[in-house]
């Protein structure tokens, strides 16, 4: 080992020790301070009640499957719709100008309205039309509200990706005689999508959580199930259980997104 490597190794070891000690110190101070709060015993009983957590967790997990289902079938719809809207906003021909206006309206409206409001309006409003089953299900229309909101956001991400592809790539494609449509399909879009995957992953993570908004209009998914337990047992621990389940999914997804972003940065430099 060269002196330089020895030095760097000892530096690394030192910084690991310093970080560990400082983390332990902060943890110890918190563990000492928090129980000194006057309401700590009450909070412990109603939020961190182990027997209640054990009892409710399996049902919560089962209810979470509904969240997973809603997530799983709304995600592909969001991607397809976002792609359509992004392309609408990019059309150049005058005859298709209405599509451009439509795309702009769509993103303005569905990004501008709070998601929960849209879930209420569509989830209660459309079943109110008295449609026959299964078209009157709030589960269905709540999901539609999520799809509308998220596709507007993802469309904007895609659009900025399309605009970030350098004009020389279009020139090169045009110079080979490729049509506008082929240039978009084979040259611009693949690069735009690849570039925006980390940004779109952030919306995937947000969607995983926002599925819980449907609890306000009916489907007994995780949050609503936790709510039911809270009322039954007069205890908030099921909420903590629900939070744990969400975190088990979103934290790995967040780390994965960070990893993708770091990889992209490394490629660019």
């Amino acid at each position: 080992m060269t002196p330089r490597q020895r030095y760097e190794q000892s530096e690394r070891r030192r910084s690991v020790i310093v970080a560990a000690v400082s983390l332990a110190a902060v943890g110890a101070v918190l563990a000492w301070l928090v129980p000194m709060a006057p309401g700590w015993e009450a909070v412990k009983r109603s939020f961190f009640n182990w027997p209640i957590l054990v009892k409710t967790f399996p049902t919560l997990l089962k209810a979470f499957m509904l969240d997973v289902m809603i997530f799983a079938w709304s995600l592909p719809l969001i991607i397809v719709l976002a792609l359509v809207i992004a392309l609408c906003r990019n059309v150049r021909s005058a005859a298709l100008f209405p599509l451009r206006v439509f795309g702009a309206f769509y993103t303005d409206i569905f990004r501008g309205v709070p998601t929960i409001l849209l879930v209420y309006l569509i989830g209660f409003g459309i079943p109110g039309l008295g449609l026959p089953r299964p078209w009157n299900s709030p589960y269905l229309w709540g999901t539609v509200a999520l799809v509308l909101t998220y596709s507007a956001y993802v469309a904007e991400v895609l659009r900025s990706g399309i605009e970030s592809v350098h004009a020389s790539q279009r020139s090169a494609a045009h110079s080979l005689g490729l049509s506008e449509a082929d240039t978009m399909r084979y040259v611009v879009l693949p690069q735009a999508i690849r570039r925006q995957i980390p940004a779109m992953m952030n919306f995937v993570i947000a969607l995983q959580k926002d599925v819980a908004l449907l609890s306000f209009i009916g489907p007994v998914e995780l949050l609503r199930q936790a709510n039911v337990y809270k009322s039954l047992m007069a205890n908030f621990t099921p909420y903590v259980g629900a939070a744990i389940i969400f975190l088990c999914v979103t934290i790995p997804a967040t780390r994965y997104t960070d990893h993708l972003l770091a990889k992209q940065r490394a490629q660019r430099s």
Binding site: Q169, A173, S175, L176, G177, R194
Partner: protein
């Protein structure tokens, strides 16, 4: 200093006798192009014979690149007319697709598609535009790659290649469309000096095959070696068109003399 515009066409059409054909491959008549008040190409009149190699020289910003982009219809001309084999291609509203099939262009910055392999870069346009079967397009591509010493690079992505290799792939990509004219826009300017040679060899080979070439270049020695005629552009105007032996030893115009003295000193 300034010459009347009437005088220019005649001198510009002085094609070497060996190359005189009944029709020029490309004919430019008073072609002008402006970008926001700045006239980048100013009344350019030129004939380019079948199989001729014309080198465009001139300082940066003299309009060489813009002229090439106009010939490929990547930029619409503001005034004047361009003919390709007796067909006017500068008509406003003309579908540029068929023209671009016949006129290939290679850029200074390669502009390969970074998300595609070399093979896909080359075969995309033949498959989509010429409607070739994938097997046919690939065999054409393999032949061209082998011809330019790139046969082992078909499956690589562009960022794995050197600048010289990327530029040769870009040339092959343009050639796969079987163009009748090749426009080469300062194709060696972005390359490290030791990589310039391999790309110029490709241009020599193209000329040897009888391709009609318009080359914008800063490589004066190369222009002197391979050009049939050299055209000096200054501030968007054609100042002088002459065979290389005249252009580089005894240019008629004072501006040409000044320019050549400046660049040849370096």
């Amino acid at each position: 200093m300034t010459r009347s515009n009437d005088e220019l066409p005649a001198s510009a059409r002085a094609v070497p006798e060996s190359l005189v054909n009944e029709l020029p491959r490309l004919r430019l008549e008073s072609v002008s192009k402006c970008f926001d008040e700045v006239t980048v190409c100013d009344q350019i009149t030129l004939d380019i014979a079948v199989g001729e190699m014309l080198c465009l020289i001139g300082a940066s910003g003299s309009g060489k690149s813009t002229l090439l982009r106009c010939l490929n219809l990547l930029e619409p001309v503001d005034d004047g007319r361009i003919w390709l084999d007796n067909t006017e291609i500068s008509i406003p509203g003309l579908d540029p697709g068929p023209v671009r099939k016949r006129i290939g262009i290679v850029f200074q910055s390669f502009n390969l598609f970074p998300h595609m392999t070399v093979m896909d870069n080359i075969t995309l346009a033949p498959k989509r535009v010429l409607q070739q079967e994938p097997e046919q397009a690939q065999s054409v591509a393999r032949t061209l790659l082998a011809q330019f010493g790139l046969e082992d690079k078909a499956k690589e992505y562009p960022d794995r290649l050197s600048g010289g290799q990327q530029q040769r792939v870009a040339i092959v990509r343009a050639l796969a469309m079987k163009p009748e004219v090749m426009l080469l826009d300062e194709i060696t300017s972005a390359l490290d000096p030791e990589l310039v040679g391999e790309v110029l060899d490709v241009v020599r080979a193209l000329k040897g095959q009888g391709m009609t070439i318009v080359l914008a270049t800063h490589e004066m020695s190369f222009a002197r070696e391979v050009a049939d005629r050299v055209c000096f552009l200054d501030k968007g105007k054609v100042v002088e068109v002459a065979p290389p032996e005249v252009m580089f030893s005894n240019p008629a115009q004072q501006r040409t003399q000044q320019f050549l003295r400046r660049v040849l000193q370096q």
